[in-house]
Symmetry: C2
Subunit: 207 residues, 2 copies
Amino acid sequence: MFRKGLLIVLSGPSGTGKGTVLRLVRESCHNVKFSVSATTRTPREGEENGINYFFKTREEFEQMILNNEFVEWVKYCDHYYGTPKKWIQDNIENGFDVILEIEVEGALNIKKQFPDCVTIFMLPPSFEELEHRIIARGTEDKEVIKKRLIKARNELGFVDKYDYVNINNTVEDSVREINSIILAEKLRYHRNMEIINELGLKGGSTK
Amino acid sequence: MFRKGLLIVLSGPSGTGKGTVLRLVRESCHNVKFSVSATTRTPREGEENGINYFFKTREEFEQMILNNEFVEWVKYCDHYYGTPKKWIQDNIENGFDVILEIEVEGALNIKKQFPDCVTIFMLPPSFEELEHRIIARGTEDKEVIKKRLIKARNELGFVDKYDYVNINNTVEDSVREINSIILAEKLRYHRNMEIINELGLKGGSTK
């Protein structure tokens, strides 16, 4: 009895707490893999090829763009970043659930190419709380904070494009909720048709 | 912050194990209520009005039918049985999740009247296992068993009308899966629009 994996796409403004929650989701689900991006930037200390990123030369990356090998890509600060399609497809085919953390425009592109993906938008408990969390990081000056908040407000306008919302009140609740979404989505009828057929449960006559 | 409750409709052939699983779901979720049917049959020893059934006279029941107070009703062995609409509506409005265990035709009727309900079909691990479980009860003769199996086969043909399937391999997994479906469905975007508006997270400009 074999199931294909699920593609889960998570978005949410910076400061919502996606990183912490996803780390704990990964620890609690052995079947979950995180999508690995490709990039042309130089590896940082400790970063491994195929784990943190697929490190590519500019020529390799541009060829991949021409070959339509990315579900989405961007150029940022003179470096390319992209999500390779094949890695996602291979893992899903092999039964792994793949989580992709990505900003809203990228998420909508992925939904077009993987219509069966499950999209989750992570929200802070309130806009004031988001403001508080961004300021509490203490790493940025006022102007950067203001820009981040404007960006967050813009991103929040896309929440109605997502299947699920997850309000990050506590890390524990968020982890439990995301795990429940993954488990529940695997139980949807349309993802179990083959299994039901294999079990001999549908159609045919009684012996 | 207030949410409406969810209506969960569960079906599945007799012998699948719905009763045991639902009892444990109720024990693990304080927010869940089981739909109480109305009937014209006489209360049995220990049965309480409003808990096991709403006990009605024939005249009362027939008036309720005429008033369109049931989401569905049947006449069986000269007694009426029906699911009162108002009880479900009141509990959902008050934030309770209501679970309704019902056969397939009834479930499809309920979906028409409560389009936002969540439907789950519980399956045995295999048809052979279902046969085994029905025979193991040891309470029925061969002819009755055969009738039950034919009925089960017919019911299984409706599985594609349901949102979710739950294969009852073990009681523990089934309880966990049904709890996950309930939790996940509460996180769907369309059920959280009011909360998102209240939190001031969508639209408007940044302060």
